[in-house]
């Protein structure tokens, strides 16, 4: 069953078209990888889904509801969380305040505390640093905070934009382990990555984006053996 359907989506920055009519489907319970080179339009796609950028044409359907024109802030309570590119934690607020912002739309106070506990269990370093301003954390810790913050809303669908960007290899592995865990606990994941090898290794389906168009789609593991993909995205 599709939790998210993007149909013929077009997005512009002024007169420049960044997304040129893309369509893809995210099935409930899967990890979908969206890969592509720098500037392909991955971030634009995610930001359009969560309402940070308006769509010029096309439709975005979430759980059967057309959300194309729904203001972005309303999507959180509908079950969509977005871990943005560059983490974008609130640098001057503490780690705990950041996590609480993630639960901004929730009214079930006692259960929020439960969620907080479970996030501290998953990311013990966040608990150790809970009263520290988020800006003082290392890159990897900030990424964990950005993920923990998104999890505080208990999302059904989580969009992640290059969670491994700029991290040391140890952190990269840790982040991908965490994505697998999040997925195992029942959250559907739409993962954008430049690290195609890692992304394809944990994904079910994958789409390849090139200058605003989807040029390839299919089973993620088969894609790893695709000569074209190997040459363009998997060479190291």
């Amino acid at each position: 069953m599709a939790i998210l359907e993007v149909k013929d989506l077009e997005v512009y920055y002024g007169v420049i078209q960044a997304i040129k009519g893309i369509s893809f489907t995210v099935n409930q319970g899967e990890i979908i990888a969206l890969i592509g080179a720098n500037g392909a339009g991955k971030t634009t796609t995610l930001q359009t889904i969560t309402g940070l950028i308006p769509a010029k044409a096309g439709k975005i359907i979430y759980n059967g509801t057309d959300i194309t024109r729904v203001p972005g802030y309303k999507l959180v309570s509908m079950g969509i969380a977005h871990v943005p590119e560059g983490r974008r934690v609130f640098a001057e607020m503490t780690v705990l305040q950041n996590l609480r912002m993630g639960a901004y739309t929730r009214r079930d106070k006692t259960e929020v505390e439960e969620t907080l506990k479970s996030i501290y269990q998953r990311f013990p370093r966040l608990e150790e640093r809970k009263n520290q301003p988020a800006g003082t954390l290392s890159g990897g810790e900030q990424q964990m905070l950005a993920m923990g913050r998104a999890l505080m809303s208990r999302p059904k669908l989580m969009l992640m934009d290059e969670p491994s960007m700029g991290l040391s290899p140890i952190y990269v592995n840790e982040i991908f382990d965490i994505i697998k865990e999040i997925h195992k606990s029942g959250t559907t994941v739409l993962l954008v990555e430049q690290n195609a090898k890692k992304a394809l290794s944990i994904a079910d389906e994958a789409y390849v984006l090139e200058t605003g168009k989807i040029v390839l789609s299919g089973d993620a593991h088969e894609m790893m053996d695709n000569e074209q993909v190997k040459k363009a995205y998997l060479s190291e």
Partner: protein, 293 residues
């Protein structure tokens, strides 16, 4: 005793600047715009109180409540009608609009109340404080102004740190997009900021007109500019900065008036601002504001 007296009334004037500066600094921090019409909200508050207290003969407290209500509605309406449609526009377009709103408010007041100064009756009806056997008299308006400023600072700080909407304001001021991803309604948060700033401007209007009781459509203009200066001086976007900037400015202004020249006092105030900004471009408590798109 002369110095102490000038100093204390300078602190009181500075307290008024600080209350006005809060409006500038919060709106700048959260909506990233300079609301040049903010000073004129003070004048509107003054005329509301004048009408209710002097014209209709009702109690001052009622006048203040009515002014706070009227200014809150005015601030939120201005934001909704004039500024929100320009959310994605250049900051210059927003600034010009704000200057337009400022002239609009002044001219409406001119139309309704005329240009002759009106005599404002102080909203503070307590007796003055006489100290040191009569050598030092502190007016009750001065005392009430300083106490009001302290209460407002404490209340506002608690509001921002302890309430959900206060935290949302912090989040929006840091990163509007990320705040929206948390489920925060950015427009609503900005509207609340305007409401608080305008309500504070009404209180500032009551205190300012009580201390300087001549009310004209231009009454808010100069204190508005001074308070903006105070906000920049203290570090725009910073709440303690508004307090420090306001008080320092008020004291410098009053002491210059007393000891140097009342004509030159404004020039001295702005000269100090320029020097501070040359040495510390972000103001005393300012942080570097990274512009985000």
């Amino acid at each position: 005793m002369g110095f102490l007296s000038y100093f204390i009334s300078g602190v009181s004037l500075g307290a008024v600047y600080a209350i006005i500066a809060l409006g500038y600094t919060m709106v700048y921090g959260i909506a990233r715009m300079l609301n040049f019409a903010h000073g004129d909200i003070i004048m509107v508050g003054g005329f509301v109180i004048f009408t209710i207290v002097s014209t209709l003969g009702m109690p001052p407290l009622l006048g203040i409540i009515a002014a706070v209500a009227a200014c809150t509605v005015l601030g939120v309406t201005t934001e909704r009608v004039a500024y929100r449609p320009l959310r994605e526009a250049s900051s210059l377009a927003v600034l010009i609009t704000a200057i337009g709103v400022s002239y609009l408010l002044q001219n409406i007041a001119l139309l309704v109340f005329g240009s002759n100064p009106r005599q404002f009756t102080s909203v503070v009806t307590l007796p003055n404080l006489v100290l040191a056997g009569g050598a030092l008299t502190i007016s009750s308006t001065t005392i009430v102004t300083i106490i009001s400023c302290i209460i407002i600072m404490i209340a506002l700080t608690a509001f921002i740190n302890k309430t959900k909407i206060g935290q949302a304001m912090l989040a929006v001021s840091e990163d509007r997009g990320a705040a929206s991803l948390m489920g925060i309604d950015v427009n609503k948060t900005i509207a609340v900021t305007f409401a608080i700033g305008s309500a504070l401007a009404a209180i500032a209007g009551a205190l300012l007109c009580s201390a300087y009781p001549s009310l004209t459509p231009y009454t808010g203009s100069m204190p508005g500019i001074k308070a903006f200066t105070a906000a920049v001086f203290g570090g725009i976007g910073s709440i303690p900065g508004a307090l420090i900037g306001g008080v320092i400015l008020g004291v410098i202004e009053n002491l210059s008036k007393a000891y140097i020249s009342s004509q030159l006092s404004d020039a001295i105030v702005f000269a100090v601002l320029i020097i501070v900004l040359l040495v510390r471009p972000t103001g005393i408590l300012g942080r570097k504001i990274n512009e985000k798109v």
